[in-house]
Symmetry: D2
Subunit: 344 residues, 4 copies
């Protein structure tokens, strides 16, 4: 089976495993207080203009849950697009910590200053929750990215309304390495209060690096990590992985490779004249007749995103492991299906 | 520095890393729905007489938190020794899910049927929480183990009072492989409602295997894992590790090695005539003058367990990596300190 | 100022206060275990065909919060109209107990079987919450009522999908006494799993009577009341009030009076040819030019429901205390405003 | 039956009911935003030197729960005597909001600076909760009171350790009116961060007045009240009651009467030479043979506090309703039992 299903189906990029193997005989202090964590944190801090704190966590949901539990007072709420990962796909993890998510209908999964202002203005008194945190994802759940101008405006709006701005960077690698991107990692720390750099979907075994810029939010964060069950005994494992990711530009290289494959895939799909919702990152959405989809499922792994009676939209994800041959095979097979022939 | 600090300071047992490296080029379904998980779960199920469910989680605290959140109604409480890990060392993770822990003073960290009955009888009406879950650890937080007879009686008491019995097996390996142990893994599933087999402290990178026997507690457990932030995207990583651990008896071999070193350490400490609280597993507690401790800290890693004005008790943990030379060195250095000489 | 603002601006119906004064010299057991509570509960039980449990609570929000906390497992969620009181006006009280509310856009604030089925079908796996409780209000937040046929279908749908059906009866009095109503109190217990009879908005000082029919939901409910802070020390106070309400048909008489005033108000507003969203209960919604509203605010209390640039919709609530003279005065003043004259 | 069971078995002091009856025909704004609340709050504020906020709540548990939920961050914990009401008798209401209570064994139910320091010093890192709030009761759960010196020292200790000090005043009336008391109401606001004045156990139908002095804790408290289900629709009811309580010295008069009866009771019990744990407030504890207790239960209401095989300790509570005749009757009956005769 050829994988277009997701970007977390590999064990890890070889350099990651190599890093672990290399240090196999060493001994470390537990819970992220080891020399390796100190070294990597120091290196990563040097990548930012602002004075930031860094914490390593094991996955996206526990990062989102811990951040929101740490930041908000009980009666404070999160503003999120109704397609936001925390709103739909985390089994109520945020509500489990006691907080309401105020969802906003969007055109494309991206929040705008107007949406935030509208939510803010409609929450007027103590009979309603108090909006306090704006949650966005970059790239979004459907592969789009925020421009520098868009992020700056969101940040300005948040500050003017005394809201925190948090960016979920589960797929920050492909966002920052998109052709149309004009944001740098450092700028993201400038125009958010905190955000995380996703490792899991960018070649790591697991691991996300949370960057806290806002000084108000920094104190005692390790208490929240431990309380939420996210303080890994062998914290040095995450540090070693981020050491590998930020060595020799690996983090970007992995993302660039995924994005390049994605562009090659778009070209192929375009050449067939298909109904395509293309994005600048590693997720593409194409609408096909249901019978073609059924046929393709025998040879390719992918997710059916929205199901229709006749046609459905499927999501195709590329990764650093995707090959030209994988994509050529898929394009050829769709082409054959267009000509009412079987798969190659 | 020679490590007697804990059993989670190594990256992982070489066989674990080898397993990952071997499968490096493969591709898996996410979230623990992959073929490797199915295979390992099937193999592990064959180790039990009872029909059990198995779930893999990343660490002890998140396992405890998820189990208790899943099992209890809001007004139900946990009974734990006051030395229990959940009561002392999890930053209120259990209370964070809304549940009170009723702590019990014990002689040695082990619960008895009488203690459980006493708590049960003193909670009489709706002005108090309703005790519903008994939490024990094997080995305990200070290295002791439950005998088969003790566990059976706890289970009988729990059943007669309509309580669940949950065993925290963060260090189950060394418990089951202690010289004085008379319990089998299968028997633990018989005399508890659910328990977990610890991987983190027994050679894995991370990972605990939760075994649910009681049918009432099985449904929808994956919802609780996801909600608590513990559903690893690359769930196959934990499965691969438990595959390695239950291959060629590795799980037991790692524990046996740690226990053997511990016995060798006891002998050495005994030979010096030291005040020793010895255990059948891999944690030993010895009381030394504070100035000796200060001297030893220059060469050895260990935890000061209880601090006194003149003397303190330190904890010495052995692992599969501890060597005879490590122990010989420590014994010799203490011997030198006894003779008012410096370290070797 | 003439009150059209709400139905909880009076101290209490005179019979309620008289009841308390009459029993002033008596002494009662605390926490709702007194003889008066036993008597009233027994009397109220006789009003139902089904075997039900009754609990008295102090207000609507704490009743909703306690019910939902008691009923749901952590990963289970509530389905509610997006206008539902719990979704909008309880400051995240439900989320504070850890549960997500899945909101549904409706035409008129009423849920339909199709809406429930749609939510159910879109929540497919453990990455999403599990819908388990359907929340409706009767009368709704905007004064509408459910017919017997509608409630039966909602109940059938809920049972077929293994969902609980809970009815918020903060304004059940005016609903059951609406001209167009065809439901009885007893039938509500048949076609829901649990519901409450509102006292606060129907003449009591405070107090709601929760009726639990479903046997699964009955055990240990008093634990949940206490844990949520709703177990009144002097529980007999609520019992005495419900004794008064269900004596001499007072509960219905209060609601009938409010509804009659509301119909008289509708006639008056209709006679003026105004843009009216009329309901069969005690809340009416009329759209007026903003300058008229400003003028009326000098003499009348009411809420501006939705604000527009030129016109806004105001809510007019009638109660057993509303007089014909109050309504005549309002109608005359609006009439004067239509003729560009000042208030009378 | 003669009542020595508790101080919340009456409907209310006649003046309280009279106040409600007098205002029966009036109309008020809801949710505590009415003119009566404004008036009473203003009057009560004038009783304090410090600038304080006042909020009215319906009962002790919901006040404690709301305060703690409002004040603490998720990983912060409460320090309480192990006899503290929140630790024992609130069905885990505090833990339900996510917070651990660290209990301390005490001689007499009172906390000391040493106890607080000891808890503080033993909570050293992020693996343990962070102590942040000290909870005391005055009078305590067993009727004792704090002296000015004791309270000042607790406050100094709290401030030096950056902890909040919260005083549960469910029975503050009898405490401040005890013969041996040297604290004033105003001083309590000086030497705590917040506290509440109990109405329920001092003649009201229900109601507690929370006094927040610390400016950090004031903002948005009404959000927490609403979220916890404690915002009474008819908030003016509580205001009217506190208006009555702080008119003509009624609050103190009720407490003085209860305390005087209690002293008369102590004299009577002393005269019989009984084993007595006497207190300066309205709760007395006397140890009697179990058979006498059984006999007394036919004529008197009281609670058995601790049960022994031969003797048990009962609690006798006096209130403003207790008469000399009630006490004389009890003393005579015990005297008859001492002489092996039946009750009078």
């Amino acid at each position: 089976m050829i994988n277009f299903k997701n970007d977390y189906s590999d064990i890890a990029h070889p350099n990651i495993l190599k890093k672990l193997v290399t240090h196999q005989s060493e001994s470390y202090t537990g819970y992220g207080l080891d020399r390796e964590t100190i070294k990597v944190v120091s290196h990563m801090k040097s990548m930012f203009t602002k004075d930031i704190d860094i914490h390593f966590l094991t996955g996206g949901t526990i990062t989102n849950k811990t951040v929101i539990s740490h930041i908000l007072k009980p009666y404070e709420a999160v503003i999120s697009a109704e397609t936001g990962h925390i709103f739909v796909h985390e089994t109520g993890a945020i509500e489990h910590t006691g907080h309401k998510i105020i969802s906003v209908a969007t055109k494309d999964g991206k929040l705008t200053p107007e949406m935030i202002q509208s939510v803010y203005q409609s929450h007027v008194d103590e009979h309603m929750v108090k909006p306090k945190l704006v949650y966005i994802s970059n790239s979004t759940e459907t592969g789009l990215i925020y421009s520098k101008q868009e992020l700056m405006l969101l940040y300005d709006t948040s500050k003017s309304l005394d809201l925190w701005l948090y960016l979920d960077g589960a797929r920050l690698g492909v966002a920052l390495n998109a052709k149309t991107n004009d944001l740098t990692l450092d700028e993201i720390s400038k125009y958010t209060d905190l955000f995380y750099i996703g490792g899991t979907k960018n070649g790591a075994l697991f691991g996300e690096a949370l960057i806290i810029k806002n000084n108000t939010l920094k104190p005692f964060f390790r208490y929240s990590i431990k309380q939420n069950g996210g303080l890994l005994a062998k914290g040095f494992l995450t540090a070693l992985q981020f050491d590998a990711l930020f060595e020799d530009n690996l983090f970007n290289a992995i993302a660039i490779s995924a994005n390049e494959s994605s562009r090659y895939l778009i070209e192929g799909l375009h050449s067939l004249g298909l109904e395509l919702h293309s994005t600048p990152t590693n997720q593409q959405f194409v609408t096909l007749p249901n019978e073609w989809i059924k046929a393709l499922e025998n040879k390719y792994l992918f997710e059916v995103w929205t199901m229709g009676d006749m046609k459905s939209t499927i999501r195709l994800v590329t990764t650093y492991q995707t090959t030209k041959a994988d994509i050529d095979s898929l394009i050829r097979d769709i082409s054959l299906l267009m000509n009412k022939e079987g798969l190659a």
